[in-house]
Chain length 215, copies 2
């Protein structure tokens, strides 16, 4: 039985690109399988079949099932981090527009879609993976929160808003996002990304009453 590499190159050394083909196929297949079947029913056999490689290979390639699973969480975490980091760094953009972009990003279809939310939730909810989840995500969460507080602080100054501290606003925002991501998973008819984004913007509106861009 044969299995040809996609995008194979014929005249050089096997490159990282090539190695990454199966690697990424397996990561993608893992995310899809977790979303479709749940973590409990995600077997190496299912993932391998979806990725169109053999079961033995999937295990060999990632050393173990757990390592494959955690690698797919790491992938999502990296992807997410890149997306918000870019926005926080846009120093030439007005802070209010920047925070609106953060919200848009958190509810963009690339980030807040059912497959990916399934994976986040699967990992943080399973006791076995919670240590890995915290290792991978906690530090980034801290940085995100820190940047968020800085941004809120700037907006507070501009808007002369003193009642609500940057920490409070950031914590409230973050917990809303987590809650709404859940809801996108359960009831996507009602909780569309647009609906969630607008609800969060409305929260900011309640803090910054005279700022029209949040309305």
């Amino acid at each position: 039985m044969m299995k040809a590499l996609v995008n194979k190159k014929t005249s050089e050394h096997r490159s990282e690109t090539e190695i990454s083909v199966n690697h990424q196929k397996l990561i993608d297949a893992t995310i899809e399988t977790i979303a479709k079947r749940g973590l409990a029913d995600t077997t190496i056999a299912h993932v391998a079949k979806r990725a169109k490689v053999s079961q033995g290979y999937a295990n060999f390639r990632f050393k173990s099932k757990d390592n494959l699973l955690i690698s797919s969480l790491q992938y999502l975490s990296d992807e997410y981090k890149k997306s918000w980091q870019k926005i926080f760094e846009e120093k030439n953009i007005d802070p209010i527009d920047r925070i609106i972009r953060i919200v848009q990003n958190d509810f963009s279809s690339k980030i807040a879609n059912r497959n990916k939310i399934s994976v986040w939730i699967a990992f943080y909810s399973e006791v076995k993976f919670r240590p890995s989840y915290l290792t991978i995500c906690q530090r980034q969460d801290e940085i995100y929160s820190q940047q968020m507080e800085k941004l809120v602080s700037e907006i507070n100054n501009i808007s002369n808003q003193k009642e609500f501290s940057p920490k409070e606003v950031s914590e409230t925002y973050h917990s809303m996002v987590d809650g709404l991501w859940q809801r996108i998973l359960f009831d996507p008819k009602i909780y569309t990304n647009e609906f969630c984004k607008n609800l969060v913007l409305k929260y900011f509106k309640s803090i910054y009453l005279n700022e029209d861009r949040f309305a």
Copy 2:
């Protein structure tokens, strides 16, 4: 080998109370086991051992493992519903005090503790149990939301607040609660029940600026 019933009665027919002893012991053991080991590593053997009955009995008593698991979710759901229903029915209490009681209830140690939050999250996050979760919880969620909107509507009238609709406030509150329950699980040092309650009250403060009780 023998196993005596606790609270056994000697001079009547076996009563519901007696039957319930093992029933409830198994439910409690299930909740503790899910919280401690996670849904994936919750075996009948673990639960039975913790409940101090035999493995065979646990299975026999609840027909199947899945039925035992779902019964423990049902138990939590009923308990939660009773607690908030009571508060919504306290019509003689001022609406603002009533909503404060709802918040207090949602972050009381009886409701929002790590064991019980673990179980909620375990069920809604596992694809296999999501249908059961929705069957058990969706209808109650709707009632809760409906009552919440009614309450917010009253408060809006009292406070002459028009900017934020009852639905928006209710949705925002609900998503914050879900998000904060998660955080209680991850980082209980920072996210104490008190901290979460105050954060939510501060949100209400942002809506009802001239209402001191939310501060």
